[in-house]
């Protein structure tokens, strides 16, 4: 970003081509497939006919009185494509490449974004300490990396629900979220048009898209958890992998013997995926089909380079339930699954809580890092208290900043609507900005190289009363400008050496500047010249401020 004082500062940008005036975007056409040539050049994937799309993929039953025609109108009109997968069951994952010592174009791209050596990127992926989620069927993304050595990332959830929302709104929420800084977006849609909505979102998304395939699988069995099966689940995973989903939350750690451990909890099981799997296990009195078929699932994910996000289905939903036996039992299983995934060259991250008071947060990241061999941790908050519905972006932003500092690689945002309703555009923005604050605060605390440049640039602008630079450098320039203008809207106030908070008389920054002007700008100058200058200052009857306004 270019500043009015002639300097510039480099900022990480998640908004894709949408904010580039030189690029013409059209949601009906989709984004250009930036990675396509890279993928083809590797020569290890092939196009194939793919699984036919069926009405029930969009939640449309043959018996449905509404029929399916209305939804076909919404089919994505962009360039026709066939799905792609690894040849002959090959693992075409960034993990496989990194382990072979290769630096892919995706890794190079990431290295530039992160201001890191490409070798570091490769080595972190090879060690399983970082993931680069990039399905071979999602060539539109600008590659990004999730790992504790890199900038802390933020995920924003979108998704229609049975109660509200439309396709257009969801695509708009995605671009809106990335505009404000979301590094990945999870499409958690559960209602109708789930397949079609996802197609639109993927074709227009510059960031990796995550999903929870279990939600769609449940729709396919009319919401009857006990009718779920490995076959239906697997079909859904293939469907979504062919579309280009970059990472999938899989609740394979919710095992039958752990369900009773939640019986004495204050808030039971609060993960949707977790409660669905628990209901399935109890209904059949059988071990989870996700756990039992995990190796087969690995083979599918490896063929598309879908990254695992191993879900924490037993995460605590209240302060009372934090760090309990159920939660950590599942974590141990996630550690075991992480090892299996790695054997299949599948990139893997681990999801974490939830509701956790501050003094119990560190145990979460420390245990996860130990049990899961430093696989990237991806946490929801955590929320540090239960008492503030409507402000859970803040209760959780506190926990997110702390756990980010301590090594969590990606923070799943929480919006003000958490526990109350579906977020609208404003809520998405508030959630993303709160989490960018948490992530950046964590980057600073971790001493990420260059992180402080941003703060320094803004503080310089503040001290020098360069208001326009202050606004433009702000995480949210629109609101910063609006707040300033609320009390001092006039154009001269944009260059005034004060703001309405203290007024001209009491602006400490102005007084500090006056001191420097009067007494010198370095410590030596001030010390040497202090006595002499003080006489002049008094003699001139000078004030510590100019009475610029009343």
């Amino acid at each position: 970003m270019h500043l009015t004082n002639g300097k510039a500062v480099t900022l990480y940008d998640t908004s894709g081509p949408y904010t580039d005036p030189a690029i013409d975007t059209d949601v009906r056409r989709g984004l250009a497939p930036l990675r396509e040539n890279w993928i083809i050049a590797r020569g290890d994937t092939e196009e194939y006919a793919g699984r036919p799309v069926r009405p029930e993929d969009d939640g449309i039953k043959h018996t449905s009185p509404r029929g399916g025609l209305r939804n076909l109108d919404a089919v994505f009109p962009g360039r026709p494509r066939q799905p792609r997968r690894g040849r002959a069951g090959q693992a075409v994952t960034q993990l496989a490449y990194a382990r072979r010592g290769e630096i892919t174009p995706e890794m190079e791209y990431v290295a530039i974004r992160e201001n890191m050596a490409p070798e570091v990127v490769r080595d972190e992926i090879a060690a399983g300490r970082a993931v680069l989620p990039a399905n071979v069927n999602h060539p539109e993304i600008e590659p990004m990396i999730i790992g504790k050595k890199f900038l802390v990332k933020v995920n924003a959830n979108i998704g229609n629900s049975a109660v509200t929302s439309s396709i257009e709104e969801e695509v708009d929420k995605m671009t809106w979220a990335t505009q404000w800084g979301a590094d990945t977006v999870m499409d958690l849609s559960t209602g109708r048009n789930i397949h079609t909505t996802r197609e639109w979102v993927l074709r227009n998304s510059p960031v990796p898209i995550g999903t929870v395939p279990l939600y769609q699988a449940l729709e396919k069995v009319d919401g009857k958890a006990e009718e779920l099966s490995w076959e239906i689940y697997k079909d859904t995973v293939v469907e979504q992998a062919e579309q280009g989903v970059d990472y999938m939350t899989v609740h394979a750690g919710v095992r039958l013997p752990y369900v009773p451990l939640t019986a004495n909890r204050k808030t039971g099981i609060v993960s949707r995926g977790g409660s669905i799997m628990a209901a399935w296990c109890l209904a059949h009195h059988k071990e989870s089909f996700l756990y039992e078929h995990f190796e087969e699932l690995c083979e599918i994910l490896a063929a598309y380079d879908v990254t695992y996000s191993l879900g924490d289905g037993l995460r605590p939903g209240s302060i009372a339930d934090a760090n309990d036996e159920a939660q950590f039992a599942e974590l141990h299983t996630l550690g075991e699954l992480n090892q299996i995934a790695k054997r299949h060259n599948v990139q893997t991250m681990i999801e974490g809580p939830g509701h956790v008071p501050m003094h119990k947060i560190k145990e979460n990241i420390d245990l996860q890092q130990e049990i899961c061999e430093e696989a990237p941790f991806y946490t929801l908050g955590p929320l540090t208290t239960d008492i503030a519905p409507a402000y859970d972006h803040i209760t959780s932003g506190i926990g997110a900043a702390m756990i980010g500092w301590w090594g969590t690689a990606m923070l799943c945002y929480v919006t003000p609507k958490e526990h109350l309703g579906l977020p609208n555009r404003d809520d998405v923005k508030t959630g993303v900005i709160t989490y960018k604050i948490a992530a950046h605060a964590a980057d600073l605390a971790k001493g990420h190289p260059g992180a402080q440049d941003w703060d320094d640039a803004l503080s310089d602008a503040r001290f020098e009363f360069r208001w326009e630079d202050q606004f433009n450098l702000a995480l949210d320039p629109v609101t910063a400008r609006e707040f300033h203008d609320e009390t001092l809207p006039a154009e001269p106030a944009k260059t005034a050496h004060f703001c309405s908070m203290c007024g001209p008389k009491f602006c400490s920054m102005k007084i500090s500047q006056d001191i420097r002007r009067e007494h010198g700008t370095t410590q030596t100058e001030i010390e040497e010249g202090m006595e002499q200058k003080s006489k002049e200052f008094a003699a001139a009857g000078n004030r510590v401020y100019l009475p610029l306004a009343e």
Copy 2:
């Protein structure tokens, strides 16, 4: 608070009589003097004529074209009173009483509020680890305590400035702030009507009021820092002590030799009081008159039981300046002044930063506790990054929660308008609620007895779908209800076993409840009955949810 399930939970209330339907309040009459008889009964104070109020106390100059009549209309019409002070220079402070082993009615009141033994209250005050700010001229307050053994407190700043605001607005901001949970309020007015505004605020405030007398003193010399003097400052302190100000920020730690230490800072001196004193020191090339007259100041404060809030005039104003030499040099001086104040039986707390990245926060509280002999720490945030103007309630709420956990006794709120303008009602509310979250998260992390009862009550209500209890237990019931109703406004939704966030099919809490209903409510029941129940569950074709709505 009484809940719909017949249970009750005790919550700390800062709103005073305003929210008590049995009490009729009138801002023109002021609050009843709750403490008056306690103060009189001690027999160690006397009423006296007091310092005459002068037009310049309200910023009205003889030369002012506007004259002073307009302001007299605003004079507080409530009960006439004479100021009160300790007899013959006696220290009539809670510290003096505690050191003598006395448990005052104020201490008893506090003990009940905090659910602590009165002896603990007394001993913490006697040791200087806690303060009970209660000017003998402010009998209207409901006593409260600030110390690390007690609930973390929140201060809200109000105050008109040269640019905007009126008396009515400030009184309203005070009651508004306490309604949402402010434990103390600082009146930082800097414009006209400063004396009269303060009188209205004090007479109507159920919480201790703090000020920075330097601001008013500067007004009295037309804003010319170099014309400030000990005499003018002292006159202002007496004026405010007679009105009933409970604690005063005194920037006596900004010493002449420290000013050059700020020369190489990114953002210089950002404390208003600090920059005024620095300008004075440089203009006269003399040691600060506050530092030089500190013992005399102690005598005045002791006669009214005004508590010191030793200001951190050299606090960092940017991430770059955190924990620097200037900041810690001043902290050492505050430690020295703390000892002097204690010798004079003056209650004392210490102010802290400011802008501090997360990894440098703990050093602040640890050093302060060591240097200031565990005197209560009272911090502004700290803000954990500089990049988010318009969201500094959040950048600072993160730091506030952490430093509260680690032992800070009171958190000075920051509103969304910080760095940009003067907060309005909405900003005050947002600031207070953000800081109540930080304070309560800290109480939980410190393991304060009973703190978790609040979270547990709300989480129980949440799990049992008692929506009305959820709203009423929320820090902000109004917004919680509004957010819920935005997507599900109908009355039946208030008892529905889901919300619009996930809809009826995917409500994990509902599924958890169904599991318990089907499989038992204890671990043993679930384990024993799991197989049997699972057969019945399948046989009944039961669903994990009821399709309550589409």
